[in-house]
């Protein structure tokens, strides 16, 4: 069985993205618990730093990958009709792609 078909690739993606998301979540919670942004300028300045922007972009990418594997599993587990499964999986892909584009545009706007 191929690496892809065995589900091992999805398994690895789920774990790697999980670790990225766990670390990012702790960082964000820590930041907000220690006061968070005091003003819009403060917030904007923080996000306009290249490492922060890249980190948010990568973490959101990890989130989308994590959602893809997780919700795909749910669809495969509970939807047995192939045509319905494909429709839902396509909608999910389209939805996640849109969310990714939205965040990408937001991050681009910070520098504009």
């Amino acid at each position: 069985m191929s690496y892809r078909a065995s589900g091992l690739r999805a398994w690895v993606w789920q774990r790697v993205s999980a670790v990225v998301l766990a670390l990012f979540t702790l960082l964000v919670i820590g930041y907000f618990l220690s006061g968070g942004p005091s003003s819009y300028q403060d917030w904007h300045n923080l996000l306009a730093q290249a490492p922060v922007t890249v980190m948010i972009g990568l973490s959101f990418g990890a989130l989308l990958a994590h959602i893809w594997v997780g919700v795909r599993d749910i669809i495969i587990d509970y939807i047995s009709r192939p045509w319905l499964r494909y429709i839902l999986l396509s909608l999910l892909a389209l939805w996640l792609f849109s969310l990714g584009l939205w965040v990408l545009l937001l991050l681009a706007r910070i520098f504009a």
Partner: protein, 142 residues
């Protein structure tokens, strides 16, 4: 076949049917007891799906916070009455999903597979997620 007459055959079939009917089939969800690790597992999935549904809210909040000083102010004050409930559900989902996920990562490393640990860690995840949600609730109400 002369010794096995119709009457005997019919009785053999009757016994077979009765035995088939007596098989212990139980699909009543109210009487099936799910082990605690099973509860943690299905809650992990439910919490993940809930957060999937809430993802656009998160991105919208991020969008709002970047729409200049006014949007930022609105984003920082996000607790009206019904939004509080959504927020609480989100906190529980995140806490539970985080802790259960951590448990699964440890299990991947073959840590915690022994029966007592496997069970109490599942219970700890359930209690931990609820505790975090309660602390967050108190913090919001305060």
């Amino acid at each position: 076949m002369t010794t096995l007459n119709g009457w005997v055959l019919i009785n053999i079939f009757k016994i077979m049917i009765i035995k088939t009917k007596r098989r212990p089939v139980n699909l009543n969800l109210l009487t099936i007891r799910l082990p605690v690790a099973g509860v943690t597992s299905i809650a992990h999935r439910a919490a993940g799906f809930l957060m999937f549904v809430l993802t656009p809210v998160l991105v919208y909040w991020f969008d709002l916070s970047l729409r200049g000083p006014r949007g930022f102010q609105q984003a920082m004050v996000l607790f009206s009455t019904w939004e509080k409930l959504v927020w609480m559900a989100g906190v529980w989902a995140l806490a539970h999903h985080f802790l259960a996920g951590l448990r699964y990562l440890l299990l991947d490393l073959e840590i915690g597979f022994e029966k007592p640990v496997y069970r109490w860690s599942a219970m700890a995840v359930l209690i931990g997620g609820t505790l975090v949600a309660l602390v967050a609730a108190i913090w919001v109400v305060r």
